[in-house]
């Protein structure tokens, strides 16, 4: 199931949906644009297009390498457009600050790679849905910090992907989501959304309907891949 909807707050402020995602053969990936970035939606879409064009993009072993290659290609393009170093740095912060979360389904387990704020959604073997919130404060880690020169904290340069493994003996399904799903995680929809997360069938249309009907609850853009 793949859902990506613009948040009500972004709709009111005239900001586009800054999330972007795709799914293929047990591999899921999403990018959640930072609201502070002026053109985060451009960055997420550019990143996904180039990443999907890489030959082994769905391979777990090559994931970090593929992300780095993608960023390098984007930055090569930026440097050809903005030759002034300040404008080049500005372009990075305006476009490339986004969370990256990927989920690989292997034979015996699910592996989630995460860099930034986001949610992991699990359905355990007793069919209970859990929302695991990964939140790192006001300055979440972004991959683009590796290429920023004027950072407040040098620790930002050391951010790498965190890896989480979920055994299939304990979990039936593992999905990923952006922090826009917080109202669902808090139970504001009275758990009515859980049915769609637990379902084995494609219920995108109904699930989207629930989100649209309660649009005022969702300030941030909502993206769920499960």
């Amino acid at each position: 199931m793949l859902i990506s909807k613009q948040g009500f707050g972004h709709y009111n402020a005239g900001i586009n949906n800054q999330d972007f995602c795709f799914e293929e053969n047990g591999f899921k990936i999403l990018a959640d644009g930072c609201s502070e970035g002026k053109f985060s939606e451009i960055g997420t879409r550019l990143f996904m297009q180039i990443f999907a064009s890489l030959p082994d993009h769905a391979k777990l072993e090559k994931f970090e390498e593929n992300v780095e290659t993608t960023f390098q290609k984007i930055l090569d393009f930026f440097s050809s457009v903005w030759t002034d170093p300040d404008r080049y740095q500005e372009a990075i912060t305006n476009n490339l600050l986004f969370t990256i979360v990927a989920c690989f389904e292997l034979e015996d387990r699910f592996v989630v790679k995460m860099l930034g704020d986001g949610y992991i959604v699990t359905v355990n073997r007793h069919r209970n849905v859990s929302f695991l919130k990964y939140f790192f404060g006001k300055c979440p880690p972004y991959f683009a910090y590796h290429y920023c020169e004027h950072l407040q904290d040098e620790r930002f340069k050391n951010y790498t992907f965190k890896t989480f493994e979920f055994l299939k003996t304990d979990f039936l399904k593992v999905g990923i989501a952006t922090d826009g799903i917080e109202p669902i995680a808090k139970g504001l929809l009275k758990n009515s959304f859980d049915v769609f997360l637990q379902s084995e069938q494609d219920v995108v249309f109904s699930a989207e309907g629930i989100i649209l009907a309660n649009m005022n609850l969702f300030f941030d853009d909502v993206t769920i891949l499960i």
Binding site: N124, N128, L132, F135, F136, R155, Y159
Partner: protein, 263 residues
Amino acid sequence: MSKKGSKLDAFIEKVFPSKEEIPKKPIMKTTKPRQVGEEYSEYYHGQGTQGVKPLEGENAQEVPKTTKPTTPASPEGKNIPKRKYIKYTQKDLTILLLEESADTSSLADIINNGIIPLVKKKTDNFFAIIRYGEKVDVTPISLFEKIPEEKWVVKSDVKTSAVDLYSALLSFKKIVKKDFVCVCTSKDFFYDEEQIRIANIEIYGVGSAQSTGDQAKKEEATAYFNDLLKDGIQSKYFCLQIEQMKEAASFGFRSIGCLSKEY
């Protein structure tokens, strides 16, 4: 102009009968105020105690026995039931599941100042606390009394690392019951009795989501707790480290967060 005896007159007569035709309703006598401990009969709303004419002869034994007590006959020979006014209210229950170990002691400040006030701020709720370390200590639902302050606080001097989370999860059996209703004497002047129903249950857990119990107990505890959560109970668990979050998910907690913000 309508003639006397017309259909319209008949209709008006039917809808608005003359004063003589209005049947007199029995006047409900007010009862004198009851004293504490005085016995009184029960009368439930919409279920007046009907007088049952006893059968005679062979069928005399077939008279069904009423379980509800009936009032003595009034001087006029009619049973005048005494009403029992019941106030029905709904309350929410908050259960705190608190780990007592060396790990939680090291984060005592964060838990005492960050998580506990978050739980306690719902002052209108009932509370229950399950503290677990090597042993499980269940503080039952506090209906009207306050839970002692020391039960809320995470101590900073605990050194043990043994925690029995599985027994703690099973101890929910002592607290959470289906259709939990508490009956108590009402403090309200108008009502005789108050029935409080637990409408919603929230569980807040704090700890490492680890347990030193055996595998068999884990199966039992996980199955029981997951079944419990399917009844629409909201649950939140605050892990101490990021790596512990998936353990909490396997137990079925709905919303799982982490106290550590270190990357």
